[in-house]
Amino acid sequence: MQRLLASLVLLGAVGASAAWLVTAPQPLPADVVAQAPGDAQRGARILHVGGCASCHAAKGAKGADRLKLGGGAVLATAFGAFQPPNISPSPDGIAGWSLADFDNAMRRGISPDGRHYYPAFPYTSYARMTAGDVADLFAYLGTLPAVAGEPAAGAIKFPFNIRRGIGLWKRLYLDTGPVARLPATAPAQVRAGQYLVEGPGHCGECHTPRDIFGGLDRARWLQGAPDAEGKGRVPGILPARLKWSAAEIADYLKTGFTPDYDSVGGSMVEVQANMAQLPEADRTAIAAYLKAVTP
């Protein structure tokens, strides 16, 4: 009996340490982590592709205020209320961060003090970014206005409020490989679009449905999903659901008008405002990828 108890305790201890181990943060290895110096000028484009301002600038901010990244509106989802933090170069933001800290946040979802971030911060997509783009973005963020103040913490529901559990979640869903299988003959433009859509642009985070654990259902990649905040539906954007030509997709991203001159709406308004800032070649590449993906 005592032996049984002892083995149970031992088993429990082994299980707990195993759980502790598999949920541990996995920082980027030294040969992968982004290297300084980044190019701030090139980083501006990455900021727009990544849509940083959509969550980290004040809600409804226009013009220069979109570069004040003190933390924006709460994202109210079924998992709880997520508060985007201050990412401006202020002591309340990321002023004290190293490039490695920033890269581990972007591509591993780990804070400088070694905690997991919630995937409301779309590092599952950012994980596909190149080290160079991360370095450029970091350099650019450093040139933006410092905003004082930390926004109040969000309110996450049980069991999702156990941050350590995200470590396990990451083992299931944090995958740096490409999502869509493109033919070997896919043109460079389509591949450039794949990088923008699946990586920094994180289009799949809203346009792909999620499973019960909040991971993206890759079998239904970009096929449309219920809105994360419960406001209607986010449309599918692959040819099966979206009948627009590549030129029409690129034009929509630039002007905010559909081919029928309906206008962009909902959360896509922010996204389109970002996309309009990009070079034409990026919008064309995104469109080329969306036309090339076969589910």
């Binding site: 809105d227 406001k231 209607g232 539906r233 449309p235 905010g256 008008f257 029928d260 001159y261 309906d262 206008s263 962009v264 709406g265 909902g266 959360s267 308004v269 922010e270 389109q272």
Partner: protein, 147 residues
């Protein structure tokens, strides 16, 4: 010849104000938006050069916008929050002050655009831009796409 034919066809098409059947507020406001969409398509194609610029048509489009903006807010009574595949967001009724700001701006901008009375494509482009900047700001918070 072809040009004037185009213009004639366009003029007939835009001269009709948005069909406002007395079916109910949801149908009425949808008809107004449908009219806006039709006018915007026409204006956009003129500005892109898909169809030739016609000042009469352009001014009619702007007049239609102003009339639509004026009529629009009256079609959101409290009993029309749901039903009839409406895409109206509940924010229209829960944030009435914000809604009023948006609809007031739409009225002000459409009136100012119509007052420009453009005689060339460049001026029409300016007026068109003043009006259509309202589309996304309003659809961001007050419309919910269901499909």
């Amino acid at each position: 010849m072809l040009r004037s034919m185009f213009a004639a066809v366009l003029a007939v098409a835009v001269i009709l104000p948005a069909a406002t059947a007395a079916a109910g507020p949801i149908e009425d406001r949808q008809a107004i938006m449908k009219g806006n969409g039709r006018d915007t398509k026409m204006g956009g194609e003129m500005l892109k050069g898909v169809v030739p610029f016609d000042a009469a048509v352009a001014n009619k489009i702007l007049a239609n916008y102003a009339a639509a903006a004026k009529a629009f807010p009256a079609h959101f009574p409290a009993n029309s929050k749901t039903g009839g595949d409406t895409e109206a967001s509940s924010a229209i009724w829960t944030m009435p002050a914000d809604w009023k700001i948006a609809t007031d701006k739409f009225q002000k901008d459409t009136a100012a655009a119509a007052a420009l009375k453009p005689t060339d494509a460049a001026t029409f482009g300016k007026a068109f831009g003043m009006v259509t900047a309202n589309c996304k700001t309003c659809h961001e918070g007050f419309r919910i796409k269901k499909n």
